[in-house]
């Protein structure tokens, strides 16, 4: 009874965020019980450990922020893995003061190509970004010869990704900056309104005078920039770029966005949800690694959690007319 009235008092978009936030607490409590009973320690409650996990999670968080914008306009960006890798490889290859701009430039360029293909050529993003991903992979294999490049990350990249200020990892500050920017765009700027409008019905947005193609291009550029930034940071964190460094970010970023309550068909969802979704996935991963869960079990739990969370609040409506 109380649960029902609680749900009624919440807006539709707040419910997923609240449920996934409480699931984070469940994960923390269950993980702490496990470590207390097995090891007699509670690393999950130590701020140092949590900050370290969030530092690793900040790369996923930045990718997910970009992915969310694209999902909100009911598109998807499958080119993230090799955009991220290409940005990292180019940034380390150029080096010096230009490393960061070049990495972001790669992301911007790929986003621009994606946006033009989807908005102007009208090719479904699912397949166009897939093709762009293949091209980027080809370019990088040709560039590096298929090996991990010998180039190293610059000091600035190291500073942004691996160093600490005031005891807090700098990567978290970057993630925070990206989060504030995305939240501002979505909540306070006309661009954000357009993004939601296009996600709900592009034809209606177009008839209302929105330059829908331009907005779609901008959305893909933002997603590309986010992937590029994540690549540069990841290269800084691991001191170098390597083949396939972006592969582990595509599906988790989509999952984080969707767990956060964003509709995969677009037009609905809040950035806070994506933030919570990323933290949930990061903490779930760290608890599973504390438990020394083999990869097989991790995958099964990972899939089951996504399905269960969506069964609670992500169910679609029956199409009856």
């Amino acid at each position: 009874m109380t649960a029902a009235s609680l749900n009624l008092s919440l807006s539709r978009d707040a419910r997923p965020i609240l449920i996934s936030a409480s699931f984070i607490v469940v994960i923390l409590v269950a993980g702490t019980f496990y470590t207390l009973s097995r090891l007699g320690t509670a690393p999950l409650l130590s701020p140092t450990y949590l900050l370290q996990q969030l530092q690793i999670g900040s790369f996923l968080g930045i990718v997910a922020a970009g992915m969310m914008i694209v999902i909100l306009i009911s598109q998807i960006d499958l080119s993230v893995p090799w955009t991220l890798t290409a940005a990292a490889m180019m940034a380390t290859a150029v080096g010096g003061a230009w490393a960061l701009p070049v990495g972001l430039g790669v992301g911007l360029l790929v986003g621009l190509v994606n946006g033009v293909g989807v908005a102007y050529l009208r090719i479904p993003s699912m397949i166009f970004t897939l093709g762009v991903n293949a091209v980027m992979r080809g370019l990088m294999v040709a560039h590096t010869g298929g090996f991990a490049p010998q180039t190293a990350a610059t000091d600035l990249m190291r500073f942004l990704a691996a160093d600490h200020s005031f005891g807090i990892p700098n990567a978290l500050f970057v993630w925070l900056a990206v989060s504030v920017l995305v939240a501002l765009i979505l909540r306070r700027m006309a661009l954000g309104r357009y993004i939601y409008a296009i996600g709900n019905k592009e034809a209606a947005a177009y008839l209302a005078g929105v330059n829908t193609r331009g907005v779609i291009v901008i959305s893909f550029v933002l997603c590309g920039l986010a992937a590029g930034l994540a690549g540069v940071l990841l290269a800084g964190y691991s001191t170098k770029a390597y083949q396939g460094m972006g592969d582990a970010y595509l599906l988790p970023s989509i999952a984080a966005v969707v767990i956060g309550g964003t509709n995969i068909l677009g037009g609905r969802g809040r950035y806070l949800g994506t933030l919570v979704g990323v933290i949930l996935i990061v903490l779930l991963n760290s608890v599973l690694s504390i438990m020394e869960m083999p990869e097989a079990g991790r995958q099964v739990i990972y899939g089951a959690v996504i399905i269960l969370m969506l069964l609670v609040y992500g169910r679609g409506e029956r199409v009856t007319s």
Partner: protein
């Protein structure tokens, strides 16, 4: 507009002869009818045409072109992708997407690497420190037959689970299959943490070579030397299997009410519901059949490589290539138009492109780049329709 004017004479002739409308029109004018059919299946026709051109060119350029050995090799390499592409077609036709086909295929392959060794195999597992033996799979032909059936059932069941999550859970297919795909990969990793397993040598030999080798392995038609058998002897077995699966599974499904419902859902789900079609049943059937096709692919991959391998990147590549094959084969990602036959040709085109790298001296490092550019170009062909749109509103679906 052009379609209706062309088909009108045919329609009126049907009503004049008083034949109950069965969908088949008597006394059709062959040329006109063919034209309509080509128009309606322009994507499929393009895919077939493109494939014929590139494949004939490939054989002309190949030093051993048009020989049975080359055909057999090509058929082996294309079979799994063709099956996975067929699997992907069904959810796409219903305006969905199945991101679990690669994982499902990998899982079935790992199961097959246990069941198809040809020797008596105990089905056993250790749980909670105790050892359980469920059953003993007999050796020889019976065991292999049971193993094949179990593998295909596992694939079908996994597909059915996908369908249940989508239909009863009402979760969007793309995200539901993303999650179930993780579960299937988890099961595959549980079964085969490292690549391994064993497939019966005769089974491997018989299914991955020409009909001649199949006949001599199972000792039929005078070990394949019967004179009437000679014209068929060089045909690759995987090719026959693709044709059989397409004709015996896809075509009947396509013509059934359920199959037509899948197309209707892809065109307009609301309208299909209001017309009294069984939406849930059709969606379940689409995902279940997708599981069956992907299972066939996984089974063959295990037989071909004679091992099971829970290779996550490979599963992802197959899933993504299956989407590309479906699109190149003329099926719209928006649903409602296309066919699994087209997807087979899409898979063939994708594979022939990579065959080209072997005969032309392209630096191996540039191959992924060329593959990517060709893939991007192939999927961009659909962009030509933008040039024909007169009203901008038509662009928005």
């Amino acid at each position: 507009m052009a379609n209706s004017t062309l088909s009108e004479p045919a329609m009126s002739s049907a009503s004049m002869t008083g034949v109950p409308s069965t969908g088949l029109v008597p006394r059709r004018s062959f040329g006109g009818d063919l034209l309509i059919r080509v128009r309606q299946n322009i994507g499929l026709a393009t895919a077939i045409g493109l494939f014929c051109v590139v494949y004939i060119f490939y054989h002309l350029a190949h030093p051993k072109g048009f020989s049975s050995a080359v055909f057999v090799q090509n058929a082996d390499e294309v079979f799994t992708l063709a099956m996975v592409a067929m699997a992907q077609t069904l959810p796409v036709l219903a305006a969905g997407l199945d991101l679990s086909v690669g994982a499902l295929m990998t899982m079935v392959g790992c199961i097959a690497s246990y069941l198809l060794s040809g020797a008596a195999t105990p089905i056993e597992f250790t749980f909670g420190g105790t050892h359980h033996v469920l059953a003993v799979l007999p050796g020889g032909g019976v065991g292999i037959a049971i193993g094949v059936v179990v593998c295909l059932l596992a694939g079908t069941l996994a597909g059915f689970l996908n369908g249940c999550v989508v239909v009863f859970g009402r979760i969007q297919p793309i995200i539901a299959t993303l999650a179930t795909g993780a579960i299937y990969i988890g099961i595959a990793l549980f079964l085969r943490p490292t690549p391994g397993g064993k497939i019966d040598d005769d089974l491997n030999w018989a299914l991955t070579n020409s009909l001649q080798d199949l006949a001599s392995t199972v000792h039929i038609f005078d070990d394949g030397n019967a004179s009437w058998f000679a014209p068929f002897a060089p045909i690759p077995v995987p090719f026959i299997l693709i044709v059989l699966i397409a004709l015996l599974v896809w075509v009947p499904f396509r013509r059934s009410v359920t199959g037509r419902s899948v197309y209707a859902i892809g065109s307009a789900e609301g309208a299909a519901y209001m017309s009294g079609l069984h939406i849930d049943r059709a969606k379940l059937a689409a995902f279940t059949l997708a599981g069956f096709f992907a299972g066939c692919g996984g089974l063959f991959l295990a037989i071909q490589t004679s091992s099971g391998n829970a290779d996550i990147p490979q599963a992802g590549t197959y899933t993504l290539n299956s989407i590309a094959a479906v699109v190149i084969g003329g099926t719209s990602l928006l649903g409602g138009t296309g066919s699994a036959i087209g997807s087979i040709f899409g898979a063939l085109i994708l594979r022939v492109i990579s065959f080209f790298f072997r005969i032309f001296d392209i630096a191996p490092l540039l191959q992924p780049l060329f593959e990517g550019i060709i893939l991007l170009a192939a999927v961009s062909i659909g962009a030509l329709r933008v040039l024909r749109v007169k009203n901008t509103l038509e662009l928005f679906r």
